[in-house]
């Protein structure tokens, strides 16, 4: 009897063979990807390390790292700008994504197109467009002038650079959160109302934890380009504001400063990896509580 019941549980031979083939295929599926990442992600990183810890002649040296002290202010400014821009994008983008997901399917589709359009439009173009609007000779200041008001010196100010970051990267915050929102089963929200939660409690206890993965992607996609940008600070900072990106770009224009540039890139990279690791850990823990 025991023997019979065991045999019955086995799948038919044909299915088992298909399953085995599929398993082999699935195991090999990651191989090309792995080879690619080793060749074109790992190897270049090793070259950054190599350049960061050698001098121009190729001898081992810590001088590049210790020389970075002179750029402390640049680092602090960059981190502050990126944090502020990310926070503003989240504060604007999260409610936007939520409200968008509550619209009719038809409206959602239109809004999706509208949020993708600026993303497809080049960053240089968007930044130029914003600069053209806000510049001293731009439309905003000429309108203010006609109204008899003082022109706003936005271009060339800290505010201008942060505004540029928010404007350029907001869609990157909205899209992943919106995607997470649309995957959210509305019955969870109904259930939480049925169980006595008010709107605020439903938001903080149901919607937010369930869309945290979208927030993490969004924050990543805004924070990283914000901290690395050199173009926004060049244009909307009018060349007066120097961020980490500007410095690295300058250092890599000249072969003799490749080593310092590599050291600076390395430090920025480590800073970002640390902050993203902390964030990912936080979201993993949160995710663990959700069924």
């Amino acid at each position: 009897m025991k023997d019979l019941s065991l045999r019955r549980k086995e799948p038919p031979p044909a299915t088992r063979k298909g399953q085995a083939q599929r398993n082999i295929f699935q195991k090999l599926a990651a191989v090309p990807h792995t080879v690619w990442t080793v060749m074109f992600i790992a190897a270049p990183m090793l070259f950054v390390l190599y350049f960061a810890f050698t001098d121009a002649e190729g001898n081992f040296s810590f001088a590049n790292i210790t020389n970075l002290g002179q750029y402390t202010n640049v680092f602090i400014l960059s981190i502050a700008f990126a944090l502020i821009a990310t926070a503003v994008c989240l504060v604007i983008g999260y409610p936007l994504a939520y409200f968008m997901s509550r619209q009719s399917l038809r409206a959602q589709k239109v809004l999706m197109v509208l949020i993708m359009l600026p993303m497809w439009c080049n960053l240089l173009i968007r930044t130029y467009a914003l600069m053209a609007l806000l510049d001293n000779g731009g439309l905003l200041n000429s309108l203010l002038g006609k109204l008899g008001l003082e022109p706003l010196p936005i271009v060339g100010s800290y505010f201008g650079v942060i505004l540029g970051m928010v404007y350029d990267f907001l869609p990157y915050m909205v899209l992943p959160i919106f995607t997470a929102m649309t995957k959210l089963d509305y019955r969870y929200i109904e259930a939480s109302h049925d169980l006595g939660c008010n709107n605020l409690q439903t938001m903080t206890k149901v919607v937010m934890p369930l869309t945290l993965s979208g927030v993490v992607s969004g924050v990543t996609m805004v924070f990283v380009p914000s901290i690395s940008t050199f173009y926004i600070s060049q244009k909307l900072g009018a060349g007066k504001i120097d961020l980490v990106g500007d410095t690295i770009e300058r250092l890599f224009q000249n072969v003799s400063t490749y080593n310092v540039g590599a050291a600076m890139s390395l430090v920025m990279m480590i800073l970002i990896l640390i902050s993203l690791t902390i964030m990912n850990k936080f979201s993993d823990e949160e995710g663990g509580m959700v069924p």
Partner: protein, 270 residues
């Protein structure tokens, strides 16, 4: 509340689109001023259409975006499948970490690191001709990969295993179950990965800036070089055209999608 939320959406989209609208309107401005619209003119468009360099940059950008998005999507989708089914964490984790490096890394670091690799390879081979389409393609596939994984991987994770099992109980072979039950669940992820790759590739300026050569220019590099020091109105015309083309593509894709949906529903009813 409903009304307020609509106002909020309207306001944000309004702010998002003002600069783009101004850009489009002023691309028709005859005076070359950004402050005042003095008269309607196609002169900047004429200037643009006589620019051979712009056309070759556009061609280069499209070829690069299509090929890099396609390669990245294929590599990334199979990669996501393989990684999802991989049991051994000590292999899976390092690969995932490695994959995510270009996404976590600022573009400038990715660009610089690839440049250093290519410089080293070029020195090793003793050639100076390495930089160009090849290096750009490699760089673009590399920075697209994590985004493909990011959009495909969650689809694999959200797959309900019992659905595939149910399909097999109902007589599907495992491969039929994969193609009929699991794949349709994954396809939206693949499509968004592909679209995102294409977008990022077209959009990329920073990484391309470091791995290109002067004889292979993409559109963003061309725009950057043209407007490094002063604003050129033919670039506004170009941007306006880009926005228009993208809008049309997005609308067509959307319209075609919903038409297919309706057809599918009708078919289902019959």
């Amino acid at each position: 509340m409903k009304f307020l939320s609509k106002c909020y959406i309207g306001l944000i989209f309004f702010l998002l689109y003002i600069p783009i609208a101004v850009l489009i309107v002023f691309s028709f401005n005859e005076s070359g001023s950004l402050a005042e619209f003095s008269g309607f003119s196609f002169m900047w468009y004429k200037e643009l259409f006589h620019d051979e360099e712009a056309f070759s940059a556009l061609r280069n950008s499209l070829v690069l975006a299509v090929s890099s998005a396609a390669i990245a999507t294929v590599l990334g989708t199979f990669g996501a499948l393989g990684l999802h089914r991989m049991k051994r964490r000590y292999i899976k984790k390092p690969i995932m970490t490695l994959t995510n490096i270009p996404m976590m890394n600022p573009d400038i670091v990715t660009g610089v690191s690839m440049m250093l690799l290519f410089v080293a390879v070029a020195t090793f081979l003793g050639t100076r001709e390495l930089f160009g389409f090849g290096t750009l393609l490699i760089a673009h596939v590399t920075f697209n990969l994590p985004y493909v994984i990011l959009s495909v991987m969650p689809r694999f994770q959200q797959l309900d295993k019992s659905l595939s099992e149910a399909a097999q109980d109902l007589g599907c072979t495992p491969s039929e179950a994969f193609f009929k039950v699991e794949l349709p669940e994954i396809v939206p992820g693949i499509v968004s990965g592909l679209m995102m790759s294409f977008t990022l590739s077209l959009d990329d300026f920073v990484i391309s800036h470091f791995v290109s050569s002067p004889n292979f220019q993409t559109l963003p590099l061309y725009v950057y070089n043209q407007t490094a020091h002063n604003v050129k109105f033919s670039m506004y015309a170009l941007s306006a055209l880009i926005v228009a083309v993208i809008l049309v593509i997005l609308l067509v894709v959307n319209f075609a999608g919903s038409a297919a949906d309706r057809k599918g529903k009708k078919g289902g009813r019959v």
